[in-house]
Amino acid sequence: MELLAYLVNVFQASTFSLLMAGLVAGIVLGATPGLSSTFALAVMLPVTLAMGQLNALVFLGAVLMGSTYGGAFASILLNTPGTPQSVTTTFDGFPMAKRGDGDLALTIACLVSAFGGFAGVLAFVILAPPLAHIALQFGPPEMFWLALFGLTIIGSLSRGNLLKGLISGAIGLAISMMGIAIVSADARFTFGLPGLAGGVHIIPATVGLLCLPVLFDMLGDADHHLSSSVTTVRIRFRESLKAISSRASNLCQSTVAGTLIGILPGAGGAIASIVAYSFAKKQSVPKSGELAFGEGNPGGIIASESANNATVGGGLVPTLVLGIPGSPPDAVILAAMLIHGLQIGPSLFTNHGDIVYSFSAGMLIASVLLIPVGLLLGRLICHFVMRVTKTLLIPLIAFMTIVGAYSIRNNYYDVVMMMVIGVLGWILSRLGFPTAPIVLGFLLGPIAEQGFSQAYMIGSARNDVIGTFLGSGISIGLVTVILFILLMPLVKAGLISRKGLLEANDLSKTSGSSQ
């Protein structure tokens, strides 16, 4: 009955209309290349000052939900991650758009985003206190191993030459080191330019690496549209449901991974989608006629989008229960709660239970409404991108990349770095170096370095460095999984060669006995 009362709170005319407005605004801002969920929330925060507590939170919750999903639009249609969380969506989404299945990819992304978002918020409502306890078990060593686990995907993202993929990953790590180091405060690779002291921001780097090379190549071919094979753009609902239901285990494990990683302070949607994608890719056995991960497999979109939307609910756990924002968007939600006079912490659930549960009910409704709103907006945007000629599309994308790179920090150096990294990415791709591992190295490098440095300093102070790195069950579990992933190909290769030798011996014995 109580749940019904919370739902009724959200269905009041003013709250519901604000929820819809937040959802649309979030999708549109998230779909704009370069504008992240944090940006969308920060821009909308002053708007909530005139609202009541519940209305403000429901509105911001809907903006967060919409912007997290909105990142998929630019990822799929333009190979430009709208938000950092949707980087892995580009790996399969853009190849699908190029072969004329952009509408299918968007429909799948919308459905799994709604599922991931709903499950994440539900987990928050049911499991908030125990999940918060798990989050507190993750210290620097565990974060280091988690980032290292994410980096193991580099091998599987390297199409063709594995060495080139690994070099790409190392280049990504090198780019991530630019600027003032987080732990040691060394000014690294800034070339004496003050604008580089803050390092390279994730948005200019990912836009430069993933979007600009495609933009340069797009201009080279003679087609007048993005995809010449697209005749109609429609909502491919049944096809999407079929694709999702045949990959139900991928959807469930990615949602669980997204929720759990969402509750870890400092991890966020980007690492959640990378880990979920990595798991899904390693487990996938392409059926006959099905494309592999990275070449346009819907499984890649399912893993990435369900995981990054599940982090929305997961991120609320440390934010509301402990007062520790897990990611930058959660920090804005936390700020909004403080601005509106809500005391964060375990007592929040007892003192302001009605607000928290009504807010959660609003998030659940927002994730359900994501389906009709997202599908309709998706169709419109997909129609525009596929139908408009390149003469308009290319300058528009170029302009949006510049605007997106600049508006993150109002820093001109970000635009210059986007251009430099974009040209570097284009040259590297021409030399056969894949750009996706560079992005992974760039995203995970700072998390791995910070975790390592802090754990090393703690270990040195305790005179037990190894014990610090391998002192918890979570660390040992993560190291076991990493070793399993790294050694599995070698074991497989050994078994295959042994089997081959045995078969060759059997063959020679049979031929010898017949002679």
Binding site: V43, G160, N161, L163, K164, L166, I167, A170, I171, L173, A174, M177, A181, V183, S184, A185, D186, R188, F189, L212, L215, F216, D217, L219, G220, D221, A222, H224, T389, K390, T391, L392, I394, P395, L396, A398, F399, M400, I402, V403, Y406, S407, N410, Y412, V415, V416, M419, V423, W426, L428, S429, R430, L431, G432, F433, G445, E449, F452, S453, Y456
Partner: protein, 166 residues
């Protein structure tokens, strides 16, 4: 307008086999690794851990790429996708976009965008090249740009560099 042959040859790797890209890529990786290691000499002990690791990684992997190419040469060509299409257009666009970015602080954000889009429209392959069509496209793009710029500038309060124009 025609680009000099040496520029086209330098930028065109279509004729290049994987052996040349692997060797070149390996050498570049070794050079980058050496640079990272030299720079790391000036950092603190904790701050130099990651640069040292990445520097050695680049050197070892780059050397392995070059050596493998010598011992067990990889044949074939770089993926078609990376090397197809008109190089003249691609390079022109890279030069154009770099210039666009470079003059933003001097000329202003909106004006460079309008100049940049007009020049880009001239480079992109046209269905039918007509002055009137190009003029209409430039007008449409200018309106779209101005709306996005106005929205960002006045609704979202994003401060763009104004330069000596807007």
């Amino acid at each position: 307008m025609k680009f000099p042959d040496w520029i086209l040859q330098w930028s065109d790797l279509r004729s290049s086999r994987l052996w040349s890209t692997n060797t070149l890529g390996g050498l570049l990786s070794v050079s980058a690794g050496a640079y990272v290691l030299i720079e790391a000499l000036d950092f603190s002990r904790i701050g130099s851990f990651m640069p040292n690791l990445v520097g050695w990684l680049l050197i070892v992997l780059g050397t392995a790429l070059v050596l493998l190419q010598i011992i067990k040469p990889e044949s074939g060509e770089v993926s078609r996708e990376a090397v197809s299409g008109s190089y003249l257009r691609k390079i022109s666009f890279i030069v154009l976009m770099s210039t666009w970015v470079a003059i933003i602080p001097k000329v202003g954000f909106l004006m460079t965008a309008i100049l940049g889009l007009s020049a880009t429209i001239l480079i992109v392959p046209q269905l039918v090249f007509k002055r009137s069509v190009v003029a209409i496209e430039i007008a449409i793009a200018t309106v779209i740009f101005s709306v996005i710029y106005g929205g960002m500038r006045f609704l979202l309060d994003v401060e763009f560099p104004s330069g000596w124009m807007i």
